[in-house]
């Protein structure tokens, strides 16, 4: 239960994460001053390209950062409890029942030598004092809810005997076995074919409505966010550069990077508009430019952008942006039109 009706389920405040560079004592920032929140029942998209820090954000929330990477400041409040400071026991108790995660690659996150049914049952029994038979019934119910055909049979198979789509359904079942309130999704459809991706999107939308669970959905695919999320946060070089409602942000981006992503996404219904990439390449960890990290690739950058800090600012209508040239961007969008 949330502590008060208005407090969000998850609140991330000024989170900073650092990576120890291999072979050295130096550290490099990997997340810089990341703040966002997810309300109960809300689905929030976290988008950005490879290396932007979106998966790292999820791992920080769940406390499963690899060795050499750690959160150095900020707070991760889940129902008012700071997960960065809370004792390990508290965080462990929350995994599965409070927060859970669906990974991109079900083949590597499922145990290859255990039957998938056992894995769902284990997940359920980890947090419930259920008998094996009760847990098995629960697993069967979950499998049906996940749209797994012939569930009795499928649950008795090993992961390698299943297709990619079925494996992903099994992983979602295991993740939801203890009725979590917040589901972290790390590109769960990226490795799937488009028809199977569509099935999983339908499943996640259905589960979200039926179970009222909150979602934090990491992807590089803006269109998938448009399907599942109400709000989105756009990440670039370890910082959030724009946030707002999905429809508004795609209609009229408040950051040149977001606009760049929208213009670079090929639209299957639109053959008139030319695709436009973003010039240059996304910077890699340890090579983030001074000032606004996007300035070397930005059409609107001025001298001001080359140094200093560019925190996420309120720009009205529930939207935030880290760009100081929004007016110029909007003038350009109005002249050229954004898709």
């Amino acid at each position: 239960m949330t502590t008060s009706s208005t407090a969000p389920l998850l609140e991330v405040e000024n989170l900073c994460v650092e990576v120890t560079v291999v072979g050295g004592k130096k550290t490099e920032p990997a997340l810089r001053d990341v703040s966002f929140s997810v309300a109960a029942g809300e689905a929030v998209g976290l988008v950005g390209e490879s290396g932007s820090g979106k998966s790292l954000t999820l791992r920080t929330l769940l406390g499963i950062l690899p060795a050499g990477i750690k959160a150095t400041s900020g707070r991760v409040l889940f129902e008012g409890v700071d997960l960065l400071k809370a004792p390990k026991r508290t965080v462990n108790a929350l995994r599965g029942t409070g927060i859970t995660m669906i990974f991109q690659e079900p083949m590597t996150s499922l145990n290859p030598i255990a039957k998938v049914g056992e894995q769902i049952i284990d997940a359920a029994r980890a947090k419930h004092s259920w008998s094996k038979a009760d847990a098995r019934d629960h697993a069967l119910r979950l499998a049906k809810q996940m749209g797994i055909p012939d569930p009795e049979n499928v649950l008795s198979l090993y992961p390698h005997e299943l297709s990619g789509g079925l494996r992903q359904r099994v992983m979602i079942a295991a993740a939801l076995a203890c009725q979590p309130k917040l589901v972290l999704c790390d590109e769960p459809t990226t490795a799937l074919d488009v028809t199977i991706q569509a099935q999983i999107i339908q499943l996640l939308a259905k589960l979200k409505d039926e179970l009222g669970m909150s979602m934090l959905y990491v992807t590089h695919d803006l269109a998938v966010v448009a399907q599942l999320c109400q709000r989105l946060e756009v990440m670039y070089a370890g910082s959030i550069v724009e946030s707002g409602s999905v429809a508004e942000v795609f209609r009229k981006p408040n950051h040149p990077y977001t606009q760049g992503l929208v213009n670079a996404t090929p639209d299957v219904d639109d053959v008139v508009t030319d695709l436009a990439g973003i010039r240059g390449n996304a910077p890699t960890l340890g090579n983030w430019p001074e000032g606004c990290a996007f300035h070397p690739r930005c059409d609107y950058a001025s001298d001001e952008c080359r140094s200093g800090e560019f925190p996420l600012q309120d720009v009205g209508e529930g939207r935030k942006s880290a760009c100081i040239h929004i007016d110029a961007l909007h003038r350009a969008i109005e002249n050229a039109g954004v898709r």
């Binding site: 074919d193 488009v194 269109a223 795609f250 090929p266 639209d267």
Partner: protein, 334 residues
Amino acid sequence: MSDSILELNDVTVSFMARRGKTKTPIHAADHVTLFVRRGEIFGLVGESGSGKSTLARLVVGLNSAAGGSMVFDGEPLAGRKRSRSLRQRIQMVFQDPYSSLDPRMTVRQQLMEILRVHDSVPSSERDALCETIFRRVELPSSLLDARPRQMSGGQRQRVAIARALLLSPELLVADEPVSALDVSVQAGIIKLFADLRSRLGVTIFFIAHDLAVVRHLCDRVAVMYMGKIVEEGTTSDLFSNPRHPYTRALLDSIPRLHPDAHELVSAPEGEPPSLTRLPSGCRFRSRCPFATEKCANEEPELIEISSSAPDASHQAACHYANELEAYVGRSVAR
């Protein structure tokens, strides 16, 4: 086809699938017939396991066919055994520029090795050629002496394209060349392919799973499902008037950037069958909303769509291709 550079006639590519002690042949590409016109960008789309990469590898000579024949520029084209000059005329760009470049050689060394092996360019002109090719793929010549790990994914893919262009091929086979790239970089590579075709006149056989990319780039498209071509036509015909239920299912499955309120993608039922246990008749019938008894009994052949223009062939392998209602795009209310 008089203007075709490549023809595949009834081509089958088989592999042996081992199950316990028994070996059964599976046909990754099953009686495929298609042609590619000189100077066009031909798109081949399908999901994993559809056989599109198998065909790509067959065309460049990395697979051999179990049946059927190929014609390249009017001459019969063998599967694997090819003369050096023929290999020079058909070049390939792979999906993953990380694994298809040698990590220990500089880019210049890799390009020089190719020029040395083929020895069609005098050694005094080779350096200049490398720089010309680099300009063509919009890379700074300073990167010629870099190693792949010092480059970004987009730069590496440009190097892979440069390597394929080095011998001035007539046909470029590109197997999912943009799938591994970030979207901001992908757009630049797509434009590069379009640019290469118009400036060099090179024919491009473009394999992809992303229909949006294909629609933006290709002149004609073939859709594959489980080793068969199910629909083929000009890009505008195929996308505006898809006649095979599978093509429609693919289009309906694509999430849109600006969905109408409460619109959710629609998905076909079930999953693709295994190539070792194909359904009788039409391979798509297990997932097809229009399937009838006829579909279980008779395998559909590609038939000409009655509304297609006389000079632009549009074919679909569905018994009901000419009877399906007009395509409007489907979405389910949430």
